[in-house]
Chain length 173, copies 4
């Protein structure tokens, strides 16, 4: 595979451990991991756009995306493959140029069609069997970051990423 | 055992790790796992009705049940065996046709009377000793899903489940 | 040691993993484990009174105690040994007749003076070294229950506890 | 290294496991560990001032600092090295006299410039490689306390710390 022209990520089970915190009224929490924010940053340095596609329809994901300055967030998506095709069409790229990280049955179709697919270590075995990369990390423990660092090590290097990080830091100060 | 005609599940310690989050006022949280929602789906495909029976009396469980479209939720139940008998009577089935997943002492009577019983891996040893299946997963880590997938593998197959999942997906779009 | 005439328990690090959840305003959460509630029940069957003594001064502990019907809760205690002495005096017993579970430096004095002392597995090694029993369980994972079941196995049996549990259940229905 | 004249600590990933709990509105939680509060206490006994420097800008950290009576809290810091230099200048000490615990890429510059540097066990390998001490504990599991106890064991002893703890306890009662 060449360097991907787009990265798509699922949220629940990837950016979280699948946990959904409910209270007695109408509130809900998700637990994200700040470690994954470095994955978002490294993708920016690799100049690969990032899109969130999730089946859940909750403002929680919107808030996390805003914090990390991710523009493209698609909530409440029942057919991820169709949406990904449509996004690819707009970008004039093919699914083969997409890298996608998911974790469960609603990700199977897209996982099996993209150029590079990955799941966290705690995904079901029958989903692990169909992807290119099974990560060492579980969902919520930095699986997204490990996924991005895999791309970094394949197409650039962590050292390059850190150089860009320090360059940008000096420019903004 | 034939394929069960009813599945009953406990909540705390099965759908959660037993954790009860309290604040300073009147609020409480439980942490569910989205992985278990696939268990609910697979039971639907197996055409086995699902009933929640819990000793706790909290709207948190009601909310989770509504999210997963589970109709039958019994809260604040002190005698699970009696209630299960009454449910069986209404459905014209016997306890021997029920599969039940619990985890602690208030589940013992029902666990020992149903046709198929299971507990998460972190249940007390004296409860593990009386059930048909000790799951590999702990409560809150997808124990309910593992329980359902055990039934799937016994009476159907994951492949069948996925076929039904994709069929239904195409119908609703 | 004879059967203790009083059990004293710390909360943070024993009934929890030491976690303190803070929000941006004035709210705080603790995560308890429903597994420990069976420990409270078994102590009742053993007819050993239970007292909570904690250095923290928060309504969260009060709420948990009320849920589990524990009358004696002492919050914001800086000198646990002095308070324990005073409680013993009122009950006309000695510290040697007390079993205590704590986990950290503010528990050292009381741990070293009671008849039977225990800490969760994740306590500091220099505190583990001074107690009678290092539990297999970590704080928040059911350490209090393991502590009580240790007493149960020493002075009665789990079978006896379950008999009492079923007796009481039948009486109240 | 001589005994440090200043200890600087990061928060997310050190005092927490990197977890950021988001709700649907505007609220956020962090999970601290009461075990680390003993680290704060031991630093006081060692007479080493403690400064919190974090890239995040949230009142959550302020609240935790107030609970533990830590005066110096710097939120929303993009360049930790520059700030640390300025703090050192005011105290008339050098970076070589500073011990710092961080965990991620925004800590690299300061980690590589201080006299003694440490990271939790779950830090990225390329950050572990540049520090003096990789702790056994993960962030949020008491990594900060292990870091302080390392200093205690190097320049004093746990026994001395406990002596001071009991002395102070008797004075205030």
């Amino acid at each position: 595979m060449e360097i991907p022209k787009l990265v798509i990520t699922d949220i629940d089970g990837v950016w979280t451990d699948g946990g959904m915190f409910y209270d007695k009224t109408n509130q809900e929490f998700k637990k994200f991991n700040t470690s994954d924010s470095v994955g978002v940053l490294f993708l920016k340095y690799l100049e690969i756009p990032l899109v969130i596609i999730t089946g859940e329809n909750t403002n929680i994901v919107q808030r996390r995306a805003e914090k990390l300055k991710i523009d493209q967030v698609h909530l409440g998506v029942s057919n991820k493959l169709e949406l990904a095709k449509s996004i690819c069409k707009n970008l004039n790229i093919t699914l083969n140029e997409v890298a996608f990280i998911g974790d469960d049955i609603n990700d199977i179709e897209l996982l099996s069609k993209v150029g590079f697919s990955a799941v966290p270590n705690n995904s079901p075995s029958y989903i692990k069997n169909i992807v290119d990369l099974v990560l060492k990390t579980n969902g919520g423990d930095g699986a997204f970051r490990e996924f991005v660092e895999h791309l970094v090590n394949k197409f650039s290097s962590i050292d390059n990423m850190l150089l860009k990080y320090f360059e940008e830091k000096n420019l903004t100060q």
